[in-house]
């Protein structure tokens, strides 16, 4: 992977950090040239995943990286926490499944908003990575 153009780490420790994270990611996405629809998708995805950290682990970190190439604008975001982990990832990815009083649209809904989505979880480490990619000049 080429050296990233931009990196930022946002700590997620309180529910007010959810607001801050989605706002910062929107600003970063706008500066990279993502359009308004994609900015909203990204900000919403960040909101969902940052909330997962707060609810499941209490605290964690959101790492935002610009890994754009000459052909593509690519934003990569990793959410990591040291909480108890997700016991059944397949179940958590099902529509309508919720442990947090939400709509159960958190993880599966988030996956539909962005291009790349991967999740790994074990007790003590949960990492969710998302990517949005657009051809340069098209977004």
């Amino acid at each position: 992977m080429a050296k990233p153009h931009f990196e930022k780490s946002i700590s997620i420790e309180a529910s007010s950090d959810i607001v801050r994270a989605r706002s910062e990611v929107r600003t970063i996405a706008a500066s990279m040239g993502f359009g308004s629809a994609d900015q909203t998708r990204l900000a919403t995805a960040v909101s969902e995943l940052a909330r997962n950290i707060i609810q499941n682990a209490g605290s964690g970190v959101c790492e935002v990286t610009d890994i754009s190439s000459t052909e593509s604008v690519i934003l990569h975001i990793v959410f990591q926490d040291n909480g108890p982990g997700i016991p059944d990832i397949a179940l958590a990815m099902q529509d309508g499944y919720s442990t947090n009083g939400g709509l159960g649209a958190g993880l599966p809904g988030t996956r539909r908003l962005i291009d790349g989505f991967s999740i790994e979880s074990r007790p003590g480490l949960t990492r969710v990575s998302i990517t949005m990619q657009r051809e340069s000049g098209l977004c």
Partner: protein, 128 residues
């Protein structure tokens, strides 16, 4: 963060002008419900045109708030959902907001008045 709720006869008007934390959203919900009950409001318009992110949690709380308001006896209209917010909510998989929506606050008040007139509350003095 307190969201002002304005009273116009027996209609309530409220406009969310800043990005709300989860706690703010819950506070807003209980303020809305308390205020509806206190003035026995016949309807409430909730304008969210300034919100550029409505995630599943916020959508859930708004939807619940609408349900609570109806349970008390008030009509509910949500106005001003931004186009990209609508796209995102539907893409996430659901029509997440369980209340009628209109473009702007003016339409919201019109629609509320129509609804209230249809209900035929005798003491609705919002129409001539």
């Amino acid at each position: 963060m307190k969201i002002p709720i304005l009273r116009l006869g027996r209609i309530l008007l409220t406009s969310v002008q800043i990005d709300l934390s989860d706690n703010d959203v819950l506070q807003f919900q209980s303020d809305v419900v308390a205020q509806i009950s206190e003035v026995e409001a016949l309807g409430i318009a909730i304008d969210i045109s300034a919100l550029d992110v409505v995630d599943s949690y916020m959508a859930r709380v708004l939807s619940d708030t609408a349900g609570m308001a109806r349970m008390l006896g008030a009509e509910v209209i949500i106005s001003g959902i931004q186009p990209f917010v609508a796209m995102t909510l539907i893409e996430m998989g659901r029509g997440l907001i369980g209340a009628d929506c209109v473009f702007n606050l003016e339409q919201a008040v019109e629609r509320l008045n129509e609804r209230i007139a249809e209900r035929g509350d005798k003491f609705s003095y919002l129409r001539d």
